[in-house]
């Protein structure tokens, strides 16, 4: 049985706790990377991460690109939608097709 995690600044992810998602509030990037490495190896299949944090540690996230698990999904935080998640989807299309053809 796998679990679901949420990472990011505390205010953005606090609400998920009541749904049974494990929350990991982190503030700085080194702590975030450490936490990410720890939880990706301890049975979490899905890790939601706030877009702000995701853009700060994007090189670390790339390590999980070709692994089947965990799925690391950027979500908008409390400070609003930065478009990082949408951009990532466009990047997939670019990688596969060569240019972003899906609008």
């Amino acid at each position: 049985m796998y679990k679901i995690a949420a990472m990011g600044d505390r205010d953005s992810i606090y609400g998920f706790a009541s749904l049974g998602v494990s929350i990991f509030p982190v503030d700085d990037t080194t702590e975030a990377i450490k936490t990410l490495r720890r939880i990706s190896e301890s049975g979490y299949a899905v890790i939601y991460i706030t877009e702000n944090l995701a853009s700060q540690i994007s090189s670390e996230l790339d390590r999980y690109n070709d692994e089947p698990l965990p799925a690391i999904i950027p979500i908008p935080g409390i400070s609003g939608n930065t478009g990082v998640g949408m951009k990532q989807v466009s990047r997939f299309v670019e990688r596969a097709v060569g240019s972003d053809i899906v609008k």
Binding site: I4, S18, L19, A71, I73, F92
Partner: protein, 227 residues
């Protein structure tokens, strides 16, 4: 395109022809695989974008409720309310094989039987905005799980498509032309050898004939002299 460094022999030619047939068949299969992957990938990406729009809208809605709740309740009261969740969400993960790419399929399992059992606090000391926030998050959760599934699938598929595309291109533009060139080179070399041996034989034959004629002439002269 460079010709491979091989001996122009008949055996080499047969081997190369066999390799060319295999390369052509592999190229066709990989091209089919790429096309099918691409078709599914584009469907998935469209779904992914759609889901992402919905999820982002839902989360920002929930965040608004949360912000209001935070402003009307004290931090410590909020902490206490959300500290001990009653619900625990687990995931069953299965794998689906699409064109030899393993895609995850998530199936959420809740600890308590009632899926509406999401409020981990008494209603006496909390604001209704917190209820709204939790409710809107819980409404968006199935979509978020589907998003995770689709987005991971897109990620894995894009990697596979890239790999397949490279293979197809390598076969189409490097391997197959190289084999074709080499086969042509060996065929021409063999034909050339055959022609040269034919001319050599013709030359030898004419020399032998000339020799025999001279000998016959000399013999005739000898016979005529002795008479």
């Amino acid at each position: 395109m460079a010709v491979m460094n091989v001996n122009p022999t008949r055996m080499e030619l047969t081997n190369l022809k066999r390799k060319l047939i295999t390369a052509r068949r592999g190229h066709k299969l990989l091209k089919d695989k790429r096309d099918e992957l691409m078709r599914r990938f584009l469907d998935l990406v469209r779904e992914n974008k759609e889901l992402r729009r919905e999820v982002e809208k839902g989360i920002s809605e929930a965040n608004q409720h949360m912000a209001v709740a935070r402003s009307v309740m004290s931090d410590s009261a909020l902490d206490v309310a959300l500290m001990m969740p009653t619900q625990e969400m687990g995931l069953e993960v299965e794998e689906k094989n699409v064109m030899s790419v393993m895609l995850p399929v998530f199936d959420a399992k809740l600890k308590t039987a009632d899926e509406n059992d999401i409020y981990s606090y008494g209603f006496a000391f909390t604001s209704t905005d917190l209820d709204d926030a939790v409710k809107s998050l819980s409404d968006i959760m199935p979509l978020m799980l589907r998003l995770a599934e689709v987005e991971k699938s897109c990620q894995l598929m894009s990697a596979e498509i890239e790999k397949t595309r490279r293979r197809v291109n390598a076969l189409e533009h490097v391997m197959i032309p190289k084999y074709e060139e080499t086969i042509k080179y060996i065929t021409m070399k063999l034909d050339e050898n055959e022609r040269s041996s034919t001319t050599r034989l013709m030359k030898v034959k004419s020399m032998m004939l000339e020799d025999a004629r001279q000998k016959a002439l000399a013999h005739d002269r000898e016979v005529a002299g002795s008479n």
